[in-house]
Every structure is written in C-alpha cells, then in structure tokens.
Symmetry: C2
Subunit: 146 residues, 2 copies
Amino acid sequence: MVDILHRIGIKSSPDNVYRALTTIESLSGWWTDDTQGDGKIGGVIRFRFGAGGFDLAVLELDPAGRVLWEVVAGPEEWIGTRINWELRREDDYVIVLFKHAGWREPVEFMHHCSTKSAVFLLSLKPLLETGKGAPNPRDVKNDNWN
Amino acid sequence: MVDILHRIGIKSSPDNVYRALTTIESLSGWWTDDTQGDGKIGGVIRFRFGAGGFDLAVLELDPAGRVLWEVVAGPEEWIGTRINWELRREDDYVIVLFKHAGWREPVEFMHHCSTKSAVFLLSLKPLLETGKGAPNPRDVKNDNWN
C-alpha cells in the first residue's frame, strides 16, 4: 500500500478550513467548478472535470479537525481508496495534512494524482487567504493528463 | 518504505529537460538560487535555502532519460534517500517522473516535502516553457516550514 501525502499551512481559522472541505460551495471554489452532491456524513459528493470525475462518500466529519472520504466511483485505481484530512492550529496557521491512502500499486497515474493533489491544495490555500482559488478549469495543468 | 511520487509534462525537448536536471545554472533557475557544486557523476550538488539545505551525490546520468541522486547531507530523514528522475517524450511533452524514495517512515516532514517537491516541479515546467521559474526564495510557500 502506498499513499499520497501533502502538507499545507493556511492563514485562516480552523472553522473556515473545515468549511472549505465540507460544503459544496467551498469545494467548488478550489477543486472544480462542477462540484455537486451532499457533504454530510453518508452523503456523496460528485466532482467533475470535463470528461471525467469521481464520487466521494463522506465517512467521517469532525469539526475539531478531521474529514474522511471514500472513493465510490471514478478511475479504477481510485475505487475504494480513502482521502483523509487532518487539521490543527499551529502558530498563525491551520496546518492541513492530506493523505490519499489505499493505492494498490505506485502506477504512473498515482504520480500524476500526487502532483495534481498539490495543485489543488495550493488552490485551497489562496481561496481562504485571499478569496481566490484556482479550481478546474482554471487550475494549473501539470501534464498531458489534464 | 514510502516514496514521494510526481509527474509533470513539459513542452520542451528532452535535451533541455535533461540539462535542467544536470547543470548548476539550470538547477538554480527552478530549485534554489543558491545551488553550487558539480553535476557530473561522482560530483556533489549543494542546495541551500536560507538557514538549511542538503547535498546530493550524482550516482547515475543517462542523457536518454535518467538521473539518480543520493542525499549525502541534509535533514536527518533525508540521509540515504534517493531522488530518481525518468524522462520520455509523449505527444508534445517531455514526461517527467519524479521519485524520492527510501523514506523510513511517513512522517509529517515527508508530507511537507511531497508538496514542496510539487512546488519546485511546477517551477521547472515554466522555466523551460517560458524562461521563468520560481526558485527559492521566490518559490510558493506551502506552509510554515519554509
């Protein structure tokens, strides 16, 4: 099992960061314009990017600093993988630890997704700090798989 | 063992991308202004970022598309880890696969380094496509460990 890991620090409040991970309006402000569904526990959030996309089931929500999703539809390599978020305050920052866990093999698509996750985390950060994220289709295109 | 993996695609020639990984002048154009040393096999390249930094020994160089470095000085978690680059042409792109392998544990510092690696890869890409990278100290600061 291999995981995609990332860390960002956002100059914002824990409440605002938590909201950005749990409401459709905020998710569409940093990940993809085309985000729909239900962000509550038991709900499913649908993220679409042009031709493709994926659906995430919300497994756990803790306003104290944890969000857990499971991929229930999307690329074959993603099915059954889980995306875990941990938040905590440190200095003037909310530290965000991101983990996309459960990949069966470190395939080339995983390399792409690792970089792309960083791209979107670096869109989440300015969304909360300046009010302006760069969700799909205005995201940074890291390679030819965009 | 856990690895940091990334994938970018650069609209450039394989020769230019290879040169950007193997010459001090080009490395300083996307990673850190303060890059010194010897990029040839057996040489050591020294990367400095304000207070800290690391030294990489050049283990393998293949102009057909492979570069391998080993960390010989720097953060304790990095010592003995290896950074592997593979390049190949695909469509109009040079595809770059990056792997920082040999981490003993998925510590929080590894999360930081994963995101930070993406930041620098997304500086390498515009350096070659537009002539302008964003090396340290003009790099994107992803968290409070910059």
